[in-house]
Point group: C2
Chain length 330, copies 2
């Protein structure tokens, strides 16, 4: 019996809960399980025998979870095998996720996280701690949402040397730029449209300034390319100064403009770059797209949904199967 704790119960945490409610499907992959705790920043539902996820979701819909143990109290007082850490990202302090992950690893629980902050701030420390404690720290959901980018680069391309990783890691920027390409409107006009459609959050600066892309790039650089990178190592230019005229000139020559994050031995960079209109990375809409350049397989592109409640939750589930599942490759 696998005992699961879910920390953070926003869109991603609830998405995980919704998938875990499909018990028949998931038990085919990992066998029997119970969720013994669900906690958000204000409260929690806990039971050693397993809580009702349906109830947790319904309670959350009406407000927040009932007052109860905090995440740290749950970690200290309850037994669980794997923690799903889905609290909000803070890339400056890594908190509260960093303390949660550290405490879980220290007590010998596996951790699966969608939270970029702790990995941006302390990847090396956490990876070494997981190794020392002989547990897994899995984080497919932190980069590229539903795209199995980390597993693909680290495992499926085994035997290859990874020369560089580059691509589109932020769907909001890609939406804005591909709309500018199609409509020839200004950045401000498209941004306003995107906010109206709720594709972009009210405060979009984290996305459009390239910060979100840079955070993801740091995780890729450390996890896949075995660099020892921090956020300050990334040279960052966002998309706010791109004009319709720039698109005009680019497109006359058969190019478009996308915000590209790139990690190579030359360093880490997030910046608007020209791409041939027919380049596989020149995707439209909110898609993410990444090119993994290797020495044997050469170019491998992966494209998919970089965000979304169920999409991101699916990456967490794939990590869960990875830890507990039967190998189905044969």
């Amino acid at each position: 019996m696998i005992r699961i704790a879910i920390f953070g119960f926003g869109a991603v945490g609830q998405g995980v809960a919704e998938i875990l409610m499909q018990r028949e499907r998931i038990e085919r992959w990992i066998g029997r399980y119970e969720v013994v705790a669900v906690a958000d920043s204000r409260g929690s539902l806990c039971s050693e025998d397993g809580i009702s996820l349906k109830e947790a979701i319904e309670v959350k819909k009406r407000g927040s979870l009932p007052e109860g143990k905090s995440v740290m109290e749950i970690i200290e007082s309850m037994d669980f095998d794997v923690a799903i850490e889905a609290t909000p990202t803070n890339i400056e302090t890594g908190e509260p996720g960093l303390s949660h992950i550290r405490a879980c690893l220290n007590k010998g629980s596996h951790v699966i996280t969608s939270n970029k902050g702790p990995l941006v701030v302390a990847y090396k420390e956490l990876a070494e701690l997981a190794k020392k404690k002989n547990v897994k720290l899995a984080f497919e959901a932190t980069v590229g949402g539903a795209m199995p980018l980390i597993k693909l680069a680290k495992r499926d391309l085994a035997g290859n040397e990874i020369i560089s990783i580059k691509g589109i890691l932020n769907g909001t920027c890609n939406y804005i730029l591909s709309r500018m390409e199609q409509e020839r409107l200004s950045y401000q006009q498209i941004l306003a449209e995107a906010k109206e459609l709720k594709i972009v959050e009210a405060n979009a600066s984290y996305d459009v300034e390239g910060i979100d892309s840079a955070a993801k790039l740091v995780i890729l650089a450390n996890a896949v390319m075995e660099m020892d990178a921090t956020f300050n190592d990334v040279e960052i230019v966002g998309i706010t100064s791109i004009t319709p005229e720039a698109f005009e000139i680019a497109m006359e020559k058969g190019y478009t403009i996308r915000l590209i994050a790139e990690a190579s031995r030359d360093g880490l960079r997030v910046s608007p770059r020209l791409l041939p209109l027919h380049h596989p990375l020149a995707v439209r809409g909110t898609l993410n797209a990444v090119l993994i350049q290797t020495d044997l397989a050469r170019e491998v592109f992966v494209i998919g949904r970089g965000a979304g409640k169920i999409e991101t939750a699916s990456a967490i589930i794939s990590d869960l199967v990875d830890i507990y599942g039967n190998d189905r490759t044969n």
Copy 2:
């Protein structure tokens, strides 16, 4: 010590040998190994202590391997842990690969193959035999060359239901169609050009009639979608009747034409289809591109080199690491 036998010593077999000569690189992944036999259809080099791959490649360059044990004699008389089966594909009989793979699995060796024939003819039998003998049958190289398509769909998207797999599985057809798109020349003109550039073999019918794509689709349907499909289940239309006028009309509407192989619960189909010019599957040149449609992660595209000596060999190496390697996902 892992003892490897290589059966078939054409481009792919030699590509594998070239990579295995990079001993330091490969031992980092799988530990110590020796290649104890290399065989082609006319001869072989064998030694229980390990042969020189450099010598094997040099000898082969001057003609064929020296007279010696046949593949079946090697399987019967030598000890090895894993066979790399890279003999030429025959999708009607599956031979000679089918007999090789059957004999290797029966004696308890793992098998890694780039040969589509045996899997098209007898996927179910071979998969069950491998399971019964508790050995691995790995075949990433049979579909999509260097693209880690099978591992991605079967393992990285664990927890998902695969709804359909569709895409471009033959680089030759894609080269011809994307040149027709760009140049507005006839199929015959582009085919002649491609033959001159040696992108297309003298006898291209296996490619352009859609047979190669259909064979790969059968493997995907069986291995990834757990269907029980045979070659005769595939409805096949090739690309030989596509006219420049068809491209003209398609492109006026913002579409292009590609040869798409698709497996879904509705059946198996290989046929020229319209794609929006900006669709991620509308790749150019000899690339392969596949869309895996799932219920949770939704659309995941993978694009890469579907052929090439080292590229295809890299898929075989990734299978080898998969069988013997340390898990590097943590």
